[in-house]
Point group: C2
């Protein structure tokens, strides 16, 4: 068999996170079967996104305008900034629908091992924003990993005294069972126990 | 947030087999980050495939011409037809690289429950081919499921006496451990044991 456009497509699909060669083959066969319903519209949608997608110049969110809807909305000028590692974390926060302020996407975490310093992330820009947007609270919603916490500490050091600094609470996940939780989480939940 | 092209793309990606909403989001963010390297080429490749992909009129394989490379190749006119349920099975056989004949893709299995009869599959076309292509052997490479085996029996009934009928051997998978095999496989492997 000669290498066809189909093989090329399978190879490209296999590079997506969460897909391997086998699932890429399945997806491509599915797409070919639903050509009019799925393949052509999907190709069009990708072309559209390739043209319109851009990073918000203010917070780093991914959207279709230079300033994202959240940064553009006056309703969200609450004086609170929620700092997240990645756009996917921002989207996760938005799905919860509980935070009414604005965001700041770092684009990763500090990592001595991988040579990621503060300038490689958008930390200087965060410090500018705190000054220029009359921010009163910075919520550090970084992942509870070593790199995430190191980065949180660094940012807290930089902003110390200028603004109220908070981080997400640690504890038992809603619907979680103690038996399945690690010791660290149980320790954190016990230490932060609440009066009933 | 207003519904943007990005949300549309995520929704479409989530419909692919093997992807759900979360992995679709991850994939789309990955694509946006690698716009020039991945998103635009992928959109182009999909557009290409949407235009060029077609089913082989002879065997049902998916390719880019009306008669697929396998059916077109004189080298593969060995008088053997390997009957498979689906194009993905054909591709799996081709990856093994051991079968030198041609294929016939049924497009599914007979199923009384779902109302799939012989005319819904390409069984009549298979019977035609056996007559017209001077076929000497039909290898039934259907899945070892109830529906697959029912379909194999039906085809065997139809072709009885006209051609040599075979099916894939059942037994221990290469690299397989007995402890992890079901009783049916062990029984089949024992019954088909070979003299050393």
């Amino acid at each position: 068999m000669t290498r066809s456009e189909i093989d090329t497509l399978i190879e490209m699909m296999a590079k997506l996170p969460g897909l391997g060669p086998r699932s890429a083959r399945r997806a491509v066969l599915h797409l070919i079967r639903k050509r009019a319903l799925l393949l052509t519209p999907l190709a069009d949608a990708m072309q559209q996104v390739a043209v319109t997608a851009r990073e918000c110049l203010n917070c780093g969110n991914v959207g279709t305008s230079d300033i994202c809807d959240i940064c553009a909305s006056e309703k969200r000028a609450t004086g609170e900034i929620c700092v997240v590692e990645d756009v996917s974390d921002l989207w996760a926060m938005e799905r919860a629908g509980v935070f009414r302020g604005r965001y700041h996407v770092l684009g990763g975490t500090l990592s001595a091992l991988e040579g990621v310093g503060p300038e490689d992330l958008s930390i200087p820009r965060l410090i500018d924003r705190v000054a220029s947007e009359s921010i009163t609270e910075v919520i550090l919603a970084l992942n509870a990993t070593v790199d995430g916490q190191t980065t949180a500490h660094y940012i807290a050091d930089q902003l110390e005294g200028r603004v109220r600094l908070t981080s997400l609470a640690q504890g038992v996940p809603v619907g979680g069972e103690l038996d399945y939780l690690d010791e660290g989480t149980i320790t954190a939940a016990l230490n932060a126990r609440k009066q009933l």
